[in-house]
Symmetry: C2
Subunit: 348 residues, 2 copies
DNA sequence: CACGGCAAGAAAAACGTTTAACTGGGCACC
DNA sequence: GGTGCCCAGTTAAACGTTTTTCTTGCCGTG
């Protein structure tokens, strides 16, 4: 691949220049000197400690803003043992489920003055462990984590910092996720309302708890009225195994296909469309997650929406509680999900 | 929205417990004590300084790994003035263009031992400035930045750290982006090859340089052979103004619609499909970017692919160069783009 | 054999904060 | 009028590194 390089002057404004060095970050010493008071007093004044007079406090505050003083976080971290940064460890940003989560987490965290350090493990346990080690080394105050595998990697144990899981529970950890069981039930009821009796299942992996719950919710809602024509397990990345493709095209009397998530549903949809099977006229499909893609495929996908923003917000809140040590309210938060009806299901 | 809370024991493994405290992170002092040598020597040994004997060096290295010692980054930052963290400032993670960039940036940075601190400004100049301030306060060593507006916010100037822009150049800053002019030209040539003569333009905003270059590349490639039926400016988020919708449905003889990016193209595609205009039979569409959505709409979108992974990799590399101060090779890197032919264009 | 130089390591200072311990003065109380 | 206390500060220590300076012993050399 050709790479053009415009050279010319290679120095840029964005570089560290000697000239730029003039503008050193103001330190607490500078503030102290400006006011004519000790550094301890400045620190106390800025941190609302009681032992400083009101006039001096005012002067300090003014001087601080005048100098544009901001405490050096590394120094604070060193002293206090807290970084005011949190880790966000996700399996795969290209799965559209996660960017939205990341966005709300970052925004809520920033509102609390917390910096978000991102790790994308690319679905690899090794990458995840590396990332966690890096976070530990930086001394983040807590971690929001969507684990890739069932095993808890070593760095988590030596971390000594609170961890909040999202979407995927693990025994002994705080978690916030949505009610997958309920989602499954909603889909079952909807299927019945639309007159479907015989369904095919493209379930997610047996090892992923949420996949299992979606499936069980669906199966146990009306076991006597819904008939399972077939069930195939596929990965949450949506890639269809040859077996899945074969069963899917065969259909075996199923009028509705229930996919473990939207990625699976969309891939199934594409395969069917390619083979000139019309959706929803020949067969209906439902997904799960309501990722952004669900809105842009055609037909648009009927699916279960997770309140992603709420999940992210709650995760930050939970982590914050645990970081500050105050009011550890709860261990698990489960959000209701909602059915989003679009055009991929036909009433029969 | 209902929120279920499973209380039970509210203490979790992930919390800071007294019992967990036993497992404090080993410090350089511990290593020194274990070997029976001074901390300075340990530091020197670990940093490959010359003034330490080979036997002692070996012992130190062994002790360090045995204790699982990792230097406390806050302390290092304090002393060295470098954090080994970089900022990644993006306008909007829900635009599928950016997660992929973020993923490669994070992975390449991690390979270099750099932690990536994420800011999602949600397309707001204020959020961006806040994020940059936060990064400055944390003392990140450099920033990879896709600016939201034309104005350079204050924090950048007082930062004193290298900055590398992605996708959107600004005067005086290092940048890595793809060759939008070339992309425009490729599209023009492709349009001609497919027999189109009269085209409609859904260009991106005049204020965004890349939008302008795509447009100009298209217009100047074969000015005498392509006729512009109409041109409407829309935002890069793809939302169509009433004017755009009207013109689009009217078409005025255009057989091909050239959109400023994929988001615009997809929205146009949806509008047309809704109104029973068949794509590509009645009218063809091309996009720009090759975001993941381009592959899942139907018809799949013919578009220009940017080498996102290469851009991310190069940005990290460029930043690394500038951070270490060695070999500031270049100011701008421009990547070639490629035409991805799918089904949204019909030959006429 | 005295002395310079060098190698290997120790001691101490420094980075920017916070905080515990201390100081001095004013004032209330007995 | 002494005693003790509180207020409003100051001094100094501490966090975990790196780096500069200092020490010690040894070797080679004149």
């Amino acid at each position: 691949m050709f790479v053009g390089v415009y050279s010319g002057s290679t120095r840029c404004k964005g570089d560290r220049l000697g000239a730029d060095r003039e503008r050193q970050m103001a330190t607490i010493k500078d503030v102290a000197a400006k006011v004519g008071v000790s550094v301890a007093t400045v620190s106390n004044a800025l941190n609302d400690k009681p032992n400083v007079g009101s006039t001096v406090r005012r002067k300090v505050l003014r001087a601080a803003t005048e100098l544009g003083y901001r405490p050096h976080r590394a120094a604070q971290a060193m002293r206090k043992g807290r970084t005011r940064a949190i880790g966000l460890v996700l399996p795969d940003l290209t799965n559209p489920f996660f960017p939205q989560l990341a966005q709300t987490v970052e925004n809520k965290a920033r509102k609390l003055g917390l910096l978000v350090c991102l790790i994308d493990s690319q679905d690899s346990a090794e990458g995840e462990a590396d990332g966690l080690t890096l976070l530990a080394q930086h001394g983040v105050d807590g971690i929001i984590w969507c684990p890739v595998g069932p095993r808890i990697p070593q760095p988590i144990h030596t971390l000594g910092r609170p961890v909040v899981l999202v979407d995927r529970p693990r025994p002994g950890f705080a978690v916030v996720h949505s009610n997958n069981l309920m989602g499954g039930r909603l889909l079952a009821e909807y299927a019945l309302r639309q007159g479907h009796r015989r369904v095919g299942l493209l379930s997610g992996p047996r090892s992923v708890a949420s996949a299992q719950q979606r499936r069980n919710g669906f199966l146990t809602a009306h076991p006597q009225r819904l008939e399972i024509a077939w069930e195939v397990r596929v990965g949450f990345d949506g890639l269809l195994s040859p077996e899945a493709r074969a069963v899917l095209l065969e259909r075996r009397g199923a009028t509705l296909i229930v996919a473990g998530n939207d990625l699976i549903a969309i891939n199934a949809l594409r395969l069917l469309t390619q083979q000139n099977v019309r959706v929803p006229d020949d067969v209906s499909i439902v997904g799960f997650d309501d990722i952004s893609w669900a809105r842009i495929v055609s037909p648009r996908l009927t699916t279960i929406a997770q309140p992603l923003a709420a999940i992210g917000t709650r995760a930050v809140q939970l982590l914050q509680e645990r970081m500050s040590g105050t009011a550890i309210a709860s261990r698990a938060t489960v959000f209701d999900v909602t059915l989003v009806e679009r055009e991929s299901v036909k009433s029969i």
